[in-house]
């Protein structure tokens, strides 16, 4: 016996099987992201006043991503409509757009992550510098010196959680001679918390001697709970974008064999994967204001 109602709806429920399945799965996803949002609420509400960051995200890029995803939701729906009216060419166009928009979203996200991970907060040894005891800005370069041979090595890119000696190619005999960042000096951490309240933050190139660096930490998830939530929630969301793209990509590519054999079944698959995609857009509709605008 064939499995009934795989393509055409069951009369009393009015739905075909895969649609029941995807809505059930989406209900579980609501609980998954719901738990993350509840963690956000709890951690934020429990943070002492004045310690929750504001303005740490690039709102322009976030808004752009929001519109990219909204547009992809539209193209996803239109791809399904094209299948319903049996115009496969239009389906290929619309879902091709969906895939491109998804790629755009992920690239922008990757750029944002890189921006955070190359942003450093450097604690300086006390009383050493004219500007203040914390230097904060984006990594430009670092110079390492071997105290015996006086040889120097310059690194233009650095990927690390906090400060370590040298990575890749140069041995531990080298010590940090100086690090250059594009940023500013502040006197305490409070000045770094609310960037929205500060007007005209000037950033210049600052060169810090190695001896004055007490420790340095990038703006990764380890930096504070706000960034921990930001990275975890957006990374999980991005994984869902990736997963959805793979499924849509499969239907757009090799999966289109089913179109020739059973177009209604194929249409249902497009609808069901489209529902998942819309849900992922829904999650971003809440993620964006919560992480970027508040």
């Amino acid at each position: 016996m064939e499995i009934p109602y795989a393509v055409y709806p069951r009369p009393d429920t009015g739905i075909y099987n895969a649609k029941v399945g995807i809505w059930l799965f989406l209900a579980s996803e609501v609980m998954l992201f719901g738990a993350l949002f509840s963690a956000y609420v709890l951690i934020r509400v429990g943070t002492p006043p004045g310690e929750w960051p504001h303005g740490w995200q690039n709102v322009t890029l976030g808004t752009l991503n929001t519109l990219v995803l909204a547009l992809s939701a539209i193209t996803t729906l239109m791809a399904w409509v094209a299948c319903k009216v049996r115009q496969f060419g239009k389906f290929k166009f619309f879902h091709g757009c969906t895939l491109l928009l998804a790629l755009t979203f992920l690239c922008i996200k990757g750029f944002e992550y890189d921006d955070h991970l190359t942003h450093y907060e450097i604690h300086l040894t006390a009383g050493s510098n004219a500007g203040g005891s914390i230097a904060d800005g984006h990594f430009e370069s670092a110079i390492y010196m071997n105290p015996e041979t006086k040889g120097q090595v310059e690194k233009k890119s650095f990927c690390g959680m906090s400060f370590a000696t040298v990575a890749g190619g140069v041995t531990n005999n080298y010590q940090l001679a100086s690090v250059s960042i594009d940023g500013r000096y502040v006197n305490n951490e409070e000045q770094l918390i609310d960037l929205r309240a500060q007007k005209d933050i000037k950033e210049t190139e600052i060169k810090i001697p190695g001896s004055e660096v007490k420790d340095m930490q990038s703006y990764g998830p380890w930096h504070n709970d706000y960034l921990a939530l930001y990275f975890t929630m957006t990374a999980l969301h991005a994984l869902h974008i990736l997963g959805g793209s793979i499924v849509i990509g499969y239907l757009w590519g090799p999966g289109r064999r089913l179109w020739k054999v059973d177009p209604e079944h194929f249409t249902n698959r497009v609808e069901v994967s489209g529902l998942f995609w819309h849900f992922v857009d829904l999650v971003w509709i809440f993620l964006f204001p919560v992480l970027y605008l508040t």
């Binding site: 016996m1 055409y8 399945g21 998954l32 993350l36 930096h223 939530l229």
Partner: protein, 620 residues
């Protein structure tokens, strides 16, 4: 576009449109496609069952070694000690269980028994095999998703098993993995635990989606909701619990993974000190957040453990009393209410975390409320025995044993559900006794009953009746001997998870000190150890019986050896791929036993009304 007319039942007779390779001729598939990478719900059910029983045995052995350590702290474990030393190295040096090893065995015993043994056996194994047959469906709604869910389960199990052999050993922070302990232990065991849990949660979610969609969409014509066997209702509610309660734990597991691997502080508070030193973390997190997210799953999880068992017991009682179940509607509404309420009782596991009185009262109230439908279910099952022609075969013995055992387990949960009485009992052996009574002589008895009951449908042979009774009586007696003393130990204040069995707090160590553990309470450890070993011995006939009967058991003479009314017994033995040659038409409810005027004392659900006789049950 071609016109495709779909008749009701909607099994397409003229198939103009077909998915490629969807319905290959089953006999052409090789061994691998038919038995290993199968998408047939019966094969998957057996796969789940076999794997889960192996994990249950493994979890049992972990417990035996722990009980030895509790009764004889510091003494080398006999027989397996040298093997442990060779396999695990330093933590089991000289065959002695170190405290770290005890902790990891304890954490893994809980994890394995709950997530790798009971849930896969009760929900996935029995559910997969029986539910599609019981509703008259050809398979589950999504057969390949079904296969994926089994594979995710196996992968998760492998990750959990492998974790024993990594440096530092398996997870040590309990099956509850509380932060900050879970993040502070400097080994990778917790990381493996989290990854294993994510895989197991994925498996459960896929299974839950499948079950719910199948029960909603694939019921055969005439199988209305109120004609479903109670077992199907129980699985339906269980699937909902898994669907909606597991994801918050998955989110929490991801956050704990970030804490472990990326040094975030989701659950690590400001000012955390580990080993006397300030931890190098950002702080700002909340250990209580982990507890809330864990128990949001943890409580529905215990209903996942019990509901399928209740369903199995209900089927077997109806069948072996030869009369309808008393209070079918009450059972259905009760199981729905239990499922609903189970989402809002979780913080009764957290009474001692410093909650205020208002919130504690709320959770206490909902916890007391949920006992009502649970008692209704048990009462309906008890009343169903009244006036029955009881057949005391092995499945019925286990089902009957379930009733008082679950009664004890449930009643001893009441002092734990009330906040004031929970204060002295929380985290003591009383809790261990309570939940083991519900799961061990509770659910496991129901699962044994189910194995003996459905074995003939799966294999066409019966299991040996004599050794089944030996198994039953041995298990009943020794399970009670293992767990009953623990109530006393808990009420005397013996705490959980003590590697030395409480020796540090015993009267023997500090004679004359106040509030130590008395010698007679400590002496119970040795009794419990012997009872546990005897319990293990009592399982040997079962294991031998199970395998021997597959090939040599007494053959059944027809498809319905128990004379049952439900649909799985009206299918061929064993059911072929696709289950039913023709889609069955359902005419009546699930428990039409001993209907007056009928030739036999059971009326199968798909037996039509004979012309000229009054209808046995009204149309829906």
């Amino acid at each position: 576009m071609e016109t495709i007319v779909h008749e009701f039942p909607p099994y397409r007779e003229h198939e103009t449109a077909r998915e490629p390779e969807s319905h290959e001729h089953h006999a052409d598939m090789g061994f691998w496609r038919k038995y290993i990478f199968s998408s047939d719900h019966k094969i998957i059910g057996i796969q789940y069952g076999f794997t889960a029983l192996c994990f249950m045995l493994f979890g049992f052995f972990l417990m035996l070694m722990m009980r030895w350590q509790i009764a004889h702290p510091g003494a080398p474990i006999p027989v397996v000690g040298p093997l442990l030393a060779r396999l695990l190295g330093q933590p089991a040096a000289n065959g002695v269980m170190s405290p770290e090893l005890y902790n990891s065995f304890g954490a893994m015993h809980g994890t394995i028994m709950v997530f790798l043994a009971i849930v896969p056996l009760a929900f996935a194994a029995f559910g997969n095999y029986v539910v599609p047959l019981m509703i008259g469906a050809p398979d589950m709604a999504f057969p390949r998703v079904n296969m994926a869910s089994y594979q995710a389960y196996v992968l998760g199990g492998i990750v959990m098993l492998v974790s024993f052999f990594i440096p530092g050993g398996a997870a040590q922070a309990g099956w509850t993995s509380y932060s900050p302990l879970a993040t502070s232990i400097p080994t990778d065991g917790q990381l493996f635990w989290i990854i294993g849990m994510v895989l197991l949660i994925t498996s459960s979610l896929l299974g839950a989606v499948n079950f719910i969609a199948t029960i909603i969409q694939l019921r055969a014509p005439g199988m209305t909701w109120m004609r479903l066997p109670f077992f199907v209702w129980a699985q339906f509610v269980t699937a909902f619990l898994l669907l909606l309660a597991f994801p918050p734990l998955e989110a929490a597991a991801v956050m704990q993974l970030m804490d472990n691997a990326a040094h975030t502080s989701f659950f690590l508070p400001t000012g955390l000190a580990v080993g006397g030193q300030l931890a190098h973390v950002s702080g700002g997190g909340s250990p209580l957040l982990w507890q809330h997210l864990f128990w949001f799953l943890g409580h529905p999880e215990v209903y996942v453990l019990i509901l399928p068992g209740m369903g199995i017991v209900c089927e077997i009682i109806a069948n072996n009393t030869r009369k309808p179940i008393w209070g079918y509607k009450s059972l259905v509404y009760s199981v729905l209410v239990v499922g609903f309420l189970s989402f809002i009782v979780w913080a009764h596991h957290m009474y001692l975390t410093g909650m205020g009185t208002k919130i504690a009262t709320f959770f206490q109230a909902t916890t007391m409320m949920i006992s009502i439908p649970s008692v209704i279910i048990l009462t309906c099952l008890f009343i169903s025995l009244w006036g029955g022609s009881i057949r005391f075969n092995t499945p019925m013995l286990f089902a009957l044993g379930f009733l008082p055992m679950f009664g004890i387990g449930g009643l001893t949960g009441l002092p734990l559900g009330l906040a004031p009485t929970d204060i002295p009992l929380h985290d003591t052996y009383y809790v261990i006794a309570h939940f083991h009574y519900v799961v061990a002589p509770g659910t496991i008895f129901a699962l044994f009953a189910g194995i003996y009951y459905w074995f003939p449908k799966m294999t066409g042979r019966r299991m040996n009746e004599f050794w089944g009774r030996v198994h039953f009586w041995g298990s009943l007696v020794f399970m009670n001997l293992v767990f009953m003393p623990m109530f006393a130990q808990g009420m005397q204040g013996m705490l959980r998870r003590m590697a030395d069995g409480g020796a540090n707090y015993s009267a023997a160590r500090v004679p004359g000190a106040l509030n130590t553990l008395p010698n007679d309470i400590m002496a119970l450890h040795v009794w419990i150890l012997w009872a546990a070993m005897a319990l293990g011995v009592a399982q040997i006939p079962f294991i031998i019986n199970l395998f021997w009967s597959i090939g040599h058991g007494e053959k059944v003479r027809n498809d319905n050896p128990w004379g049952a009314t439900t649909l799985e017994w009206q299918a061929p033995t064993p059911p072929p791929h696709g289950n039913f040659a023709e889609p069955p038409q359902i005419y009546r409810g699930p428990y039409e036993y001993s209907v007056p005027g009928h030739a036999t004392d059971f009326t199968p659900q798909n037996e039509p009304d004979r012309p000229g006789t009054p209808a046995f049950s009204p149309a829906p």
